[in-house]
Symmetry: C2
């Protein structure tokens, strides 16, 4: 994929108000070749209808968001989480992507070390099932400000340490600029992840951040050295789709087609 | 200081609506033996008056907040920041504390590596002046969510790496539970900081965080393993004052005496 625009993928959360059909149609109108699909949007219409919509449009699916959420207080609940992850793997395989993004989950209590162990256990149990479906698990470290409520995996270093227990065909890492840009070990950890990066997500860190969850900015509006990071992940061997994943209420409130036009312009300039 | 309550210090930002005089009087009423003083509160009444108030009350000063803010786009501006840091050192010495807390400052642009170099340069230039005044510089890593607007020093590992270039009499580190609790390397880095910890700050991480800046919680209301961290810093040789530093609008809006009562109760239970 020599041409950068051929790698552009709409992560569906960026147009949260759109259904899957609307998002797919929007990508077709905007000539965006890839889409990353969220499971709550699949659930709205069912897996088979989702598959038909994507296939008819001729779109490529860069990933499914998301598996993970492994830690839970009881063994029974952790087993239920694993079941849900198995469904996510099946959905990824059915929709024609080899990548399931893992948002690993928060701790159910103050004991963050144990929660991190639950994540490792969950991945270990999920790997054989995922592999048998041709799906790689992509561990996405989340920004430390989400350590209490979304994920106890908060640095690329942590994600690498877990992923390295497996072959790159089984477990990789996802680099999202919003989550990792601040890390003093960033470029060293990207290099360490060579051959194992299964996704690259872009947005921006705007100042001030308008909201902890819905506070991401459009590329170019913030402080992240996005282009430098793209070059680093390419040096580390990643040349796959680049997802634009912007969780921002103000952007959700704008017409989707307008947002997609802006994404294309900013993507070509700042990514 | 065998008794924990004898180590309790009110970091003045916790009662932001109080003047220095009001905060000092509040500590005396509540029998809180230490206070950490903020420079904008000194500026309101002048250094000599501040000194008189603290001395008359017989309070101990655990630290001055804050020096730092080293990165700036031009050499001239960086020199002005250094001048301001020298004033902060003088204020610390005058007020009878040997610790100046450094909030190192954000990058003036997207180039975070250069900003980090400016921090190292600034500290290097400040050390001789501080040492001649009997003041240690305490590098406080700030949570990565402040990397864009408050400090490019975001992990205890970074702070340790800088501090280790100096003797423990010159440069140490400040461990604030709110900023570092999420770090997978936390306990390893606390151990590494042995003999060099010059401050320990407590509050809590509440879910959901009500505000990025003014979002800290009262000890016990959140997810941080505060007691575990206190034991770790003690293992690493720190037995000095423990500052309660809570930046939270709802707490600021409550009567100060009531807040101090709650602090004492929570401190004895959760710290």
């Amino acid at each position: 994929m020599a041409d950068l625009m051929e790698r552009l993928s709409l992560n569906q959360i960026t147009t949260e108000k759109w259904s899957l059909k609307e998002a797919v149609d929007g990508c077709v109108r905007a000539e965006i070749p890839w889409i990353s699909i969220w499971r709550h949007k699949i659930a709205e219409i069912g897996l088979q209808e989702s598959k038909r919509i994507v296939k008819d449009a001729g779109l490529n699916v860069s990933s499914i968001c998301r598996g993970g959420m492994f830690p839970a207080p009881t063994a029974k609940e952790r087993e239920e989480r694993l079941d849900d992850n198995r469904r996510a793997v099946e959905e990824a395989a059915e929709l024609g992507t080899d990548t399931l993004v893992l948002v690993c989950g928060p701790s159910p209590d103050r004991d963050i070390d144990t929660a991190r162990n639950y994540v490792e256990e969950g991945i270990e149990k999920l790997v054989p099932f995922a592999q048998s479906h041709g799906v790689k698990l992509g561990i996405e470290p989340l920004h430390p400000m989400y350590a209490a409520d979304r994920s106890v995996i908060n640095t690329l270093g942590q994600a690498n340490t877990i992923a390295e227990k497996y072959s790159p065909e089984q477990v990789g890492v996802v680099v999202d600029v919003f989550h990792v840009w601040w890390d003093p070990e960033l470029y060293q950890q990207i290099e360490r992840a060579a051959g194992r990066i299964v996704g690259f997500h872009v947005s921006d860190w705007i100042v001030p951040v308008p909201d902890i969850f819905k506070g991401r900015g459009m590329m170019g509006d913030g402080v992240i050295e996005i282009n430098r990071m793209r070059q680093a992940v390419e040096q580390a061997g990643y040349h796959g789709p680049i997802e634009v994943e912007i969780i921002n209420q103000a952007i959700w409130d704008r017409p989707g087609d307008e947002v997609l036009r802006e994404i294309k312009e900013r993507f070509s300039k700042h990514v």
